[in-house]
């Protein structure tokens, strides 16, 4: 279970929030309101105030890389550090078997990053995180650049993860997606984070 206490992402008022195992909370609100900063604060990627607990253990008691390995942040704009997709993934065999679930072929591992389409980049970045099987996923608009079919495949996979006990915090602009995947809603706007009915 993910417990957030008095977390104050840069420029926002501190807020508390609990996310049970196997549950997803959608983060909604106007652009520039601090949705991405909130995910980054939970991942501890920016200096921030407040405490975040995973199963009762405060994040400061994990070395930072170990914490981020447990609460993986997948940004809307994915980063790649070598030319080939496969270089970014440790276990290629598992990856080859997994990729079709996001409507990608296993050949994708040998593709060049610079030739990926927006949708392919986005799904491969998500796959890269999912393959590490973290207990918490922090997703920033995971389906924004995807066509309907691919978006549904991603949503189905997220549902599957939720059933497996993963907790997901997900920024989305789609009410429909929030209703379909999430069981809680955080509205971020006007410098505040409010919990609302989904």
């Amino acid at each position: 279970m993910l417990k957030i206490r008095a977390l104050a992402p840069c420029g926002l008022a501190p807020f508390d929030f609990d996310l049970e195992k196997g549950r997803c909370a959608a983060i909604m609100g106007p652009s520039g309101g601090g949705k991405t900063l909130t995910l980054r604060a939970v991942a501890d990627l920016d200096p921030n105030e407040g405490e975040v607990f995973l199963d009762g253990k405060e994040r400061g008691r994990f070395p930072a890389p170990d914490w981020r390995r447990r609460a993986i942040y997948v940004p809307a704009d994915s980063g790649w550090w070598t030319d080939r997709v496969g270089d970014h993934i440790h276990d290629r065999e598992t990856a080859a078997a997994f990729l079709p679930r996001l409507l990608l072929t296993k050949d994708a591992l040998s593709w060049e990053v610079s030739r990926l389409s927006t949708g392919e980049r986005q799904r491969l970045a998500l796959a890269r995180a999912l393959l590490l099987d973290p207990p918490v996923l922090l997703l920033d608009e995971p389906t924004s650049g995807l066509d309907e079919g691919a978006a549904h495949a991603v949503e189905d996979e997220l549902q599957e993860r939720l059933r497996g006990g993963t907790s997901i915090l997900m920024v989305t602009h789609s009410r429909e997606q929030a209703r379909w995947v999430a069981s809680a809603l955080l509205n971020i706007g006007g410098g505040r984070v409010r919990e609302e009915a989904p």
Partner: protein
């Protein structure tokens, strides 16, 4: 000793080359002319002053005086490294790194400049690695390697070219003033080893210190510790 003396006209003729550079810089809009002319003027003033200082130092040959002169030179070197950066580190910090040795100045300048420029450009890929649980050192290593390589270019080039493409000033000067070439070459080797060794260590220390300054205990990428843009960056 058969010493060849230079008169003012010889120097002026050589200085015309700098003027030619400035002319091309203006013509091709490279905006290097200001920096070049100021550097040339500074060289004239600094060398003239240094001539007097050396004459005095050799005449009185006292340790405290020599140490004072060395300290001043080191402080200037630090200031120069700081001034050449496109994206500077904030605070007094970068002055410290440059003071290791005057001769490591160029290498350190290049290394730090490459590091900060690359880190700013590669922010998304560095943070992608951090977000997946990499340590800061793992995430930054390719950039560190590139920065160190760039910092090494001048010394590697100068060692590779010496004797074939370039004749070092000190050695040539000694030979021109009548010293046995073999003796002059031995001195030159000694100096090259010292400069290369010092610069190499300086570059490696500086880029690692730079990387260390760009992170914190939580392995974050702290670009806020770079001043956004300086005059050099905008020009």
């Amino acid at each position: 000793m058969n010493l060849i003396t230079l008169d003012a006209w010889d120097l002026l003729l050589a200085a015309l080359l700098i003027g030619l550079n400035a002319f091309f810089s203006i013509w091709l809009r490279l905006s290097l002319e200001r920096q070049l002319l100021i550097a040339a003027l500074r060289m004239i003033v600094q060398l003239t002053l240094m001539g007097f200082v050396l004459k005095t130092l050799f005449a009185i040959s006292s340790l405290p005086f020599t140490l004072t002169a060395l300290t001043f030179m080191a402080l200037f070197a630090g200031n120069e490294v700081h001034g050449r950066q496109e994206r500077r580190f904030t605070g007094w910090w970068s002055y410290g790194v440059g003071t290791i040795s005057g001769n490591t100045m160029t290498g350190i300048s290049l290394g730090l400049n490459t590091l900060t420029a690359q880190v700013a450009r590669e922010r998304i890929s560095v943070e992608a690695q951090l977000a997946l649980g990499a340590t800061f050192l793992q995430a930054i290593r390719p950039l560190l390697r590139g920065a160190a390589k760039t910092g090494f270019i001048p010394i590697v080039n100068s060692m590779a070219a010496v004797g074939l493409v370039s004749l070092p000033g000190m050695m040539t000067g000694q030979i021109l003033s009548g010293v046995d070439p073999i003796e002059a070459i031995k001195y030159q080797m000694l100096i090259m080893f010292l400069i290369t060794g010092g610069t190499g260590l300086g570059v490696m220390i500086a880029v690692h210190a730079g990387a260390w300054r760009l992170t914190d205990r939580r392995h974050r990428l702290r670009l806020d510790r770079l001043a956004a843009e300086s005059k050099a960056g905008k020009g």
